[in-house]
Symmetry: C3
């Protein structure tokens, strides 16, 4: 008989996420081992406990999920986990990174855009493009061949993200734009076919009257769940709703696909023991849904 | 297929109660997510993780249990949990409060008395009536129409509890009595038909010779599990045992019904997603057992 | 229907061991309640939660596992757990102690030796004999009637362990030897038939050229999993491999039996509610495998 599936939830917050834990159960994990306060410094024994307990043929029945509200720390934990796996002996388990839902949210948003647009060569603007979700959205768009403009209140931060993106995606076509004041918005939006807003809660990144100035815009996706909307006029529940000629998605509209993707990705972990599911791999899953 | 049941155990102590966790399993929870160190300040994400993960038709398969040794903090956590539920959108889960077993113990004790007495108009004395269990016992008795005397070593504290009770139960008939020294006891007990002792461990609240002076007494219930008995002469295991003409219940005698009630209440959480089980609701369940 | 089995994992480290938790699942525990940061000071309520929740006929479906990287603290937690069980009322659950895998490792190592040697009267040397695994190896050997030499860099520490062993095993035949420098090694090894190395990682306790001087040696067991080997020339995976006329076991060779033993011991906890599985009891299980 197959050994029970175990998801080891490594959370960088002190209380491990109930959200991720419920999704793990609903994705079919028989046991969820939830750990809070996980850091690169204390993760070694947890990883070794995963790889040294079951024989090679059962290692795919154990997997690791890395979560928590701090995306940067989550990424460091992933790096540490990879360091402690021993692939040279086949001693590894599959790992998924989704701190703050960043990977599943970004993948679901880009996937929504791809239902309407051929992303290759699509001129796109990512508002809040220097935050953890925004950076992943930009990276996924760049990989699909889109022309990505990264918007940030501080242009230097957007430039820095562009540098990183050009390293991660060699043929990336990215540029930085300042979106410090509303007077910057028309220029940032000019010629864009797709806009995705992934900014902080409580900030209107794109006022309605600015949006009306952009004749090329076809798809607008707002990922901000806390009112006011990041893209003024988009409703939270919008799911490909046409408003003023633009197809709109709101955070709850994207959320349904994000949740399905999250569950699918966790279930997928138990199929093989050699997967690392970061933004790109989660996006591949989204394409197959 | 129904989603697995999940009980999210929010415990205000640093190590979440094994007791509550075992009872949750035995009540049929498929998964228990146990959290220690929960406070009103850190409970928001935990609640949101409950209500934002499953569709409306499955929300009753997730529920929250609030425990811990500090009843007052548990009550504050309940208030915070209620604040973060979103009933206006149907986004809520059922919640049970039972810190230190206070609700199930008080309900089981009052239910035991109700098997022998018509509580309406019954003159009752609650010793240790200002503690968390005592206050709940007094409240449940007052709601049933009993004439409740609240005993405390400090009369002012008993008066304060009376004020609260009159707010919570508008037609409550309650009065405060001092039980500072053994010479106070005869007056406190005078005319009482029921006495329930819910005081601190290690204190004899009612000596045998005082009890003998009270001709009206019919039922005596002692909830103190650590010797010496709070009501002298009552044995821990007493379950409606007649001693000197008085029906006696000891802590273990009440404990069996308390345990059954605890289990029933947890199981009940998974029937609907809109229940808040505090003392009164638990008592209703006790009446149906 | 039987109540689900529950293993309460009491771990003295802040993050409870994933290793022990996976083994618990694979041993058949339906639920594992994992607690980190457990100490003799905070264990009382956890133990009471085990013994006060299920009826006498179901108490064997709950059990306690004590783990963590600090063996001495684990032993203190075991002492505290025993104090809070109430065997006089039948209120107890079975308990297993295996901090850092010390008991299962020591038992598996001694059991490996017993497959080739009649341990009674066997002259043995335990290198690293004052560490937690080494002390258990020495104790198990002494109980089997072996003549045990305890090696330590500091002779006084080895003497102290001998004193303890003579108290624990009244007819123990033990003596201390210093193994401070490689020049001590030949004398320590002289006349030995069995050598077991249980020292700290990264130290060669027995160089190959010293081993070659000992004509009586038949079995060499090295428990150090981190290179270099504690007994030079023994390979990590050795499982009764003959090298230079000596049967060799390496840490991974012993590890398979240790893992099987660990699982068997956990499963055994749920058969009765009155077992305390420390080194000797685990060794008895090893003999039956």
């Amino acid at each position: 008989m197959d050994k029970p599936t175990i998801l080891v939830q490594l959370d960088t917050d002190s209380l491990p996420s109930v959200f991720d834990r419920v999704v793990a159960v609903d994705a079919g994990a028989a046991h969820v081992f939830a750990y809070g306060g996980v850091s690169p410094e204390n993760v070694r024994e947890l990883v070794h406990g995963c790889i040294f307990t079951r024989g090679l043929k059962d290692l795919h029945r154990t997997a690791i999920f890395i979560g928590g509200s701090d995306v940067a720390t989550g990424e460091k934990v992933l790096a540490a986990v990879r360091e402690y796996l021993l692939p040279q002996y086949g001693l590894r388990v599959s790992v998924m990174l989704d701190p703050n839902g960043a990977n599943t949210t970004a993948a679901a948003a880009v996937r929504a855009a791809a239902r309407h647009l051929n992303l290759a060569h699509t001129p796109a603007l990512v508002l809040g493009g220097t935050g953890p979700v925004g950076q992943r959205v930009a990276r996924l768009l760049a990989r699909q061949g889109a022309e990505v403009r990264i918007g940030s209140r501080q242009r230097e931060r957007a430039e820095a993200v562009c540098l990183v993106l050009r390293e991660q995606v060699p043929d990336a076509r990215v540029e930085a734009v300042a979106t410090a004041s509303s007077s910057d918005a028309p220029a940032a939006l000019a010629g864009r076919v797709l806009v995705i807003a992934a900014g902080a809660a409580g900030v209107v990144l794109l006022p309605k009257k600015v949006r009306a100035t952009c004749a090329t815009l076809q798809v607008a996706i707002d990922l901000n769940a806390v009112p006011p909307a990041g893209i003024e006029g988009v409703e939270a529940g919008d799911l490909a709703v046409k408003r003023d000629g633009v197809l709109c998605y709101g955070p709850l509209g994207v959320g349904g696909a994000k949740m399905k993707l999250h569950k699918t990705a966790v279930a997928r972990l138990f199929e093989r023991n050699d997967q690392i599911l970061d933004a790109e791999e989660v996006y591949e899953l989204a394409q197959a849904l």
